[in-house]
Structures are given as C-alpha cells and as structure tokens.
Symmetry: C2
Subunit: 85 residues, 2 copies
C-alpha cells in the first residue's frame, strides 16, 4: 500500500466521526435551534450519493464511513424534527 | 467517462455546498450555541486531510470541493469563537 493511502485512512476515520460530537451535543442539550435543517438534508443527500458511488466502485472503507455518517445524519434530522428548541 | 463518475460529480457538488446553509443560518441568527465546536474542529481536520490526499493524487474536483468546505469550516469556527450565544 502506498503511503498516501494511509493518509486516506486517516481521512476516512475523521470523516466517520465528524458528526458524532454534534449528535452528542444535541442529545445533551436537547437544543438544535442553531442547526440548519438544510445542512442536515443536503448532508443526507451528499452521503447517500457517496454511499451509492462507493458501493458501485466497491471501496469498502468509503462504504463504511458513509454508512456511519448517514446514520449520524438521520439522528440529527430526528433531533431537529423532535426537539422543541 | 463512465456513468458512475457523473454520480461522483453530483457527490462533489453536494459535498461542496453542505455547510453553506449552516454558515448562512449562523450569520442570520448570530447564534451558534447549538453548534458543537468539536464537530467544526474535526471537520477542519478531516477536510485538511482530504485536501492533502487529493492534492497528492491530483484529483481536481476533490481538491476544489475540499477547498470550499475548508473555507466554510473556518467561517463556522470564526462564528463559533466570536458570536456571544
């Protein structure tokens, strides 16, 4: 494996966990008023597209990362739709 | 160009604009209390990694998308550090 692919794996791990602190923050505060629902919706569209792309291409690390981000995005959407503030 | 690469271009465009509604939302409301600073910081790390990866690989659409996301991330960080609430 070329050295640059290790950089790619760092990117995959960081990408996967990017929205975890946001989900935890929203869960703790029960407040999502400052979150843009359009960000969450475009994120879902963006990640669904990459999940499809990586599945067709058979790039497993990218499939896993996008699947994780998709789950986190749907949790953010659920919070956005259910929390009162 | 294979058809799946067109799907990739859709992903690149969606990825690039994902954080634009969040930046506009924060700018309009001047309120970022519900935004996790850790999300923003990990996003900056994640995008910097992909910017480096795509520059070494010479994948121009990925370079452009990550450069746009990096600018938007730094704007969110700036808002997070300067807005009072």
């Amino acid at each position: 494996m070329e050295w640059i692919e290790y950089v790619g794996y760092v990117g995959v791990v960081l990408s996967s966990i990017t929205f975890l602190p946001q989900v935890l923050h929203a869960w703790r505060t029960k407040s999502v008023g400052d979150l843009s629902i359009w960000m969450v919706l475009i994120l879902i569209g963006n990640v669904t597209t990459w999940l499809f792309y990586s599945s067709v291409k058979g790039v497993l690390p990218m499939i896993i990362a996008n699947a994780i981000i998709l789950v986190l995005s749907f949790i953010m959407l659920f919070f956005k739709l259910t929390f009162k503030k």
